[in-house]
């Protein structure tokens, strides 16, 4: 192992708790670890096309809501922040919905009420439950990374379900045999997401374990020298 890799392992091992708290893509993914944004993924993310519609809405809604709400909640009572976050998201939704209609037309009906429901979805407004006020810069940074973490899982789950339930990917036939028709239903969505969440947790635990093993090796090498 070269010195650069050793330094990276040392940094990860010494800051694992901080990294786990701050990372929004792998170690503390908003969907797989925190359990946020489950409703649209379980019900509406059955095809890649639906996932694209939801992705556009989340990109346009999540970070702006978080930033504007962080600004507006500076002077409000803690218990009223939920209302502020929801109202900001619902106001922005007028523009977001208009953009989605302009881009996808009648196809947005495929995601049904899960598009307007994003305005109270915990992945967008969950921050209001925390007592501490959020800085605008932090809200922007976390908003971007939470969006990336959500989109990663959204497309992964939608792709897997489309393949399993219809044998297609973005509408193009890939498999001639439909393996798991139940994947298109709510029950299939819950079970597939549960299995993927278990796999995700296994991967994050394996990553942490690997870092600890490498760190012990580095320490042992240091003691021998």
């Amino acid at each position: 192992m070269n010195e650069r890799k050793k330094a990276r392992v040392r940094y990860c091992a010494n800051n694992m708790e901080r990294l786990t708290q701050r990372d929004r893509i792998f170690l503390n993914n908003p969907v797989m670890i925190q359990g946020l944004g489950l409703a649209p993924i379980v019900i509406a993310a059955t095809t890649m096309k639906n996932a694209t519609i939801l992705a556009v809405a989340v990109i346009l809604l999540l970070t702006p809501t978080r930033v504007i709400a962080a600004l507006l909640t500076r002077g409000t009572y803690f218990r009223f922040r939920g209302l502020t976050y929801s109202l900001v998201a619902a106001t922005l939704y007028i523009g977001v919905g208009w953009v989605c209609i302009a881009l996808f037309g009648q196809d947005i009906q495929a995601v049904g009420l899960y598009l307007p429901l994003l305005v109270v979805e915990p992945i967008i407004i969950k921050r209001h439950e925390r007592n501490q006020k959020e800085h605008v810069r932090t809200a922007f940074k976390k908003g971007i990374f939470t969006t990336i973490g959500f989109l990663l899982v959204l497309f992964f789950v939608a792709g897997a379900r489309e393949l399993m339930a219809f044998g297609t990917l973005y509408g193009k036939t890939v498999l001639t045999v439909i393996a798991v028709p139940v994947a298109q239903y709510a029950s299939g969505g819950f079970i597939i997401l549960g299995l993927l969440a278990a796999l995700w947790r296994f991967a994050t635990n394996a990553f942490k374990k690997n870092i600890n093993i490498k760190m012990k090796k580095i320490e042992a090498e240091g003691q021998q020298k």
């Binding site: 359990g35 939920g82 976050y85 939704y93 208009w98 429901l117 305005v119 709510a186 079970i191 278990a198």
Partner: protein, 207 residues
């Protein structure tokens, strides 16, 4: 039709929609509404399911008829109505939030009020509340149907929370592999229950 027959028919409609919303179209098992909140609640011993359920039902019953009237008033908006609907419905939820908050602050004892006020924002700004309003609006329910659906929906949500909380004792067993504990096993458990409900209704709900 006599007055008593009309009352009985209205009651029948109300309870039919309540029962349908509670079981066959359960907010959690059929539509995954408020499932993110549910998986957090089953892991969090500080949230009292009974208080949360009471808050959710109260807010739902106050805000849903307001949303029904607001939806009627929004008819002239035409194609803009689906875009403005979430904002108006969130405002209706906000009214429900303040009415319940006022009631808690004036009627309940200090300790009970503190717990109820802590649960109130979570119970108000919830996919289950807004989802019920949106379903009632898009499926053109009457006021009576809307009220029955709202009551059944909140009761169904509380039922789902109780079923998932009760299952936690078994789901935390040592036989469950470590990577499945918590969120993954809860989702699989809800999925199996959703499959049973799907078998009962025999069709997928329109989203």
């Amino acid at each position: 039709m006599t007055a008593s027959t009309m009352v009985l028919k209205a009651l029948g409609t109300f309870f039919l929609y309540a029962v349908v919303a509670m079981f066959a179209q359960n907010a959690v098992f059929s539509r995954a509404l408020g499932v993110s909140r549910l998986v957090k609640m089953v892991d969090d011993p500080t949230i009292d399911t009974f208080i949360f359920g009471a808050m959710l039902t109260a807010v739902q019953l106050i805000s849903t008829p307001l949303a029904w009237y607001a939806n009627l008033l929004m008819a002239p908006l035409g194609s803009w109505r689906p875009l403005v609907r979430p904002l108006i419905f969130v405002l209706c939820s906000g009214i429900g939030f303040f009415v319940v908050l006022f009631f808690i602050a004036t009627v309940l004892k200090q300790v009970d009020a503190k717990n109820a006020i802590a649960a109130l924002p979570m119970a108000t700004f919830n996919c289950s509340v807004l989802g019920t309003m949106l379903i009632a609006a898009t499926q053109n329910f009457t006021l009576l149907q809307t009220m029955g659906f709202a009551l059944g929906s909140s009761a169904g949500y509380v039922l789902a929370v109780m079923v998932a909380t009760e299952a936690q004792r078994k789901l935390q067993s040592r036989a469950v592999p470590a990577c499945f504990k918590g969120l993954p096993i809860t989702l699989i458990y809800i999925g199996v229950l959703a499959l049973a409900i799907y078998g009962f209704t025999g069709h997928m709900l329109a989203i």
